[in-house]
């Protein structure tokens, strides 16, 4: 999805021409994300799940919660792992096989956005210190691709975690054992929201769609928390940003993020 063709060049000219008039190919303003639909509990057998549509990009996240051994030197904390995979039908160019650098970066950026916000209170996910902790695994699968997987995956994972129920385990004979009726919500402290912006020519656009993604010079993904603070950031693409652009993107991420956060809050309430 990163190769450049003659058609891409034509599209890019057209996109740039419109931007000079303050317009985008799909009629949005520059700081307007696409329509976001969050369906929770799409996979009832998972501990939590969400199906997210961001324009024509679609992602499903399933959360599995199960006992695990803690990481070394982290015996007083639960485990959080977030993955991402492009299903082969999500775009004709997707290949099966081990993930490439693009997908590895995607997964790691989504993971860090959630991790660095301290969204999940991992200190509450200890079954027995140094021996057994609770692992929260948020696996994203991309069903349809139309640009900006970073935000779509982040929203799906966040919604799935916000609505997930964790079973309770206690140690019995050195084995973590399920406690009947001990279900509760995953302990969370904040709602991180990722906002990805593309730079096309000298314009910054929020939530680039597939055509914009193929045309942009650089991108930046900024995650903010419920306090409006910035907690994670990743620049990508083979172009650069000016200082002013980087500051402007920070402001955009707070502004756009607060609107998306409202939708995630509503999803959480539907999951009560």
């Amino acid at each position: 999805m990163a190769s450049t063709s003659v058609i891409d060049e034509l599209k890019k000219s057209q996109i740039l021409e419109l931007l000079e008039q303050g317009k985008r190919v799909d009629g949005r303003t520059l700081d307007e994300p696409r329509k976001l639909i969050i369906e929770i509990n799409a996979i009832p057998k998972a501990n939590g799940s969400a199906r997210v549509r961001l324009g024509d990009t679609e992602v499903i996240c399933g959360v599995k919660i199960q006992p695990d051994r803690p990481f070394p030197d982290m015996g007083d904390k639960g485990i959080f792992i977030c993955t991402a995979e492009l299903l082969p039908f999500s775009h004709p160019s997707v290949e099966t096989g081990p993930p490439g650098p693009d997908v590895i970066e995607l997964a790691r950026v989504v993971d860090r956005g959630i991790r660095e916000s301290h969204m999940i209170d991992l200190t509450q996910l200890v079954i027995q210190k140094n021996k057994s902790v609770v692992g929260v695994f948020a696996d994203n699968v991309v069903v349809d691709y139309d640009g900006n997987l970073f935000d779509a995956c982040a929203y799906a994972a966040t919604a799935a975690i916000l609505t997930a129920k964790t079973p309770k385990w206690e140690m019995k004979d050195d084995v973590p054992t399920l406690v009947e009726g001990g279900e509760s919500h995953v302990p969370t402290t904040t709602i991180p929201v990722s906002v990805t912006m593309g730079k096309i020519g000298n314009y910054i656009v929020v939530d680039p769609n597939g055509d914009e993604w193929a045309s942009m010079d650089a991108r930046i993904t900024i995650t903010t928390d419920s306090n409006g603070n910035i907690c994670a950031l990743q620049k990508g693409g083979n172009g650069g940003f000016t200082f002013d652009e980087v500051i402007k993107c920070g402001e955009l991420s707070v502004k756009v993020g607060s609107k998306v956060r409202e939708m995630l809050k509503q999803a959480k309430e539907r999951g009560q």
């Binding site: 082969p88 039908f89 349809d144």
Partner: protein, 244 residues
């Protein structure tokens, strides 16, 4: 067949199964043609608690070239389960089980697809199990047929699929997860109803020759039920929901 749960009554005195079905009654089945935006054809199936998405690309060029065939098109099938689709989180790497099921489904679809019309090209069928509940390969095969038709790939017939099996010494239709774990036999069947050909057939578990025959008959009966739902899914998409 796994260990048996002593307390589970697979079939009660009235011939009702653990999930309330009669012996020859399939689970709730919902098939939808289309749905994916980037695939050339697609389908979604809910079969009991199974939830499976299938996307099809093709006919398209083959890379690497040496895998193509100058005489005919080739069919490639990938059956894959999401990490969250099963009780214990699944490792994302393809398991030997998934590789075998991919092959079995491929060979079940090949008799139905007119690959000879597209030499040197490939048709790719991607099956993704979002939620698994026993009988995924039959549900996947049934949805794959619809997705192929949705992609406009010429076909000789649809392949409909359903399992039969044995539990509580009785031949039953459409074995669910509990019946598979605690039961005596599971026989997935793929069938082309118009051409009357069995294109997928497997069996795990012990059957007498008489039970074997009954099991195949029961499974084919199930395939015919699925077949009607496959046709309805395609009709609904291409001619609207008027016909029911």
């Amino acid at each position: 067949m796994g260990g048996r749960d002593a307390t589970l009554v697979l079939l009660d005195e009235n011939g009702i199964r653990c999930d309330g079905r009669k012996v020859d009654e399939p689970r709730r089945i919902m098939i939808k043609a289309g749905g994916l935006k980037n695939a050339d054809g697609s389908a979604y199936i809910e079969f009991g608690d199974n939830k499976i998405l299938v996307g099809v690309f093709g006919p398209r060029d083959v890379h690497p070239k040496h895998m193509s065939n100058t005489d005919t098109g080739i069919l490639r099938v990938r059956y894959h389960m999401e990490p969250f689709s099963v009780t214990e989180r699944k490792n994302p790497a393809p398991s030997r089980r998934e590789i075998e099921i991919s092959k079995v489904i491929k060979e079940a679809l090949e008799p139905a697809v007119m690959l000879e019309k597209f030499p040197r090209t490939a048709v790719d069928v991607y099956i993704e199990v979002l939620q698994a509940d026993g009988g995924t390969r039959c549900a996947a095969l049934s949805a794959a047929s619809v997705a192929l038709a949705d992609a406009g790939i010429p076909m000789r017939d649809m392949v409909a699929a359903c399992a039969a099996g044995k539990a509580a010494d009785t031949i039953i239709l459409d074995v669910n997860n509990e019946e598979d774990q605690a039961g005596q036999a599971d026989m997935p069947i793929g069938y082309m109803p118009s051409l009357e050909k069995i294109t997928l057939l497997q069996l795990d578990g012990v059957l007498t020759p008489a039970e074997y025959k009954k099991c195949v008959e029961t499974g084919i009966h199930g395939c015919k039920i699925v077949y009607e739902l496959q046709k309805k899914a395609l009709t609904d998409k291409y001619f609207g929901n008027g016909e029911k």
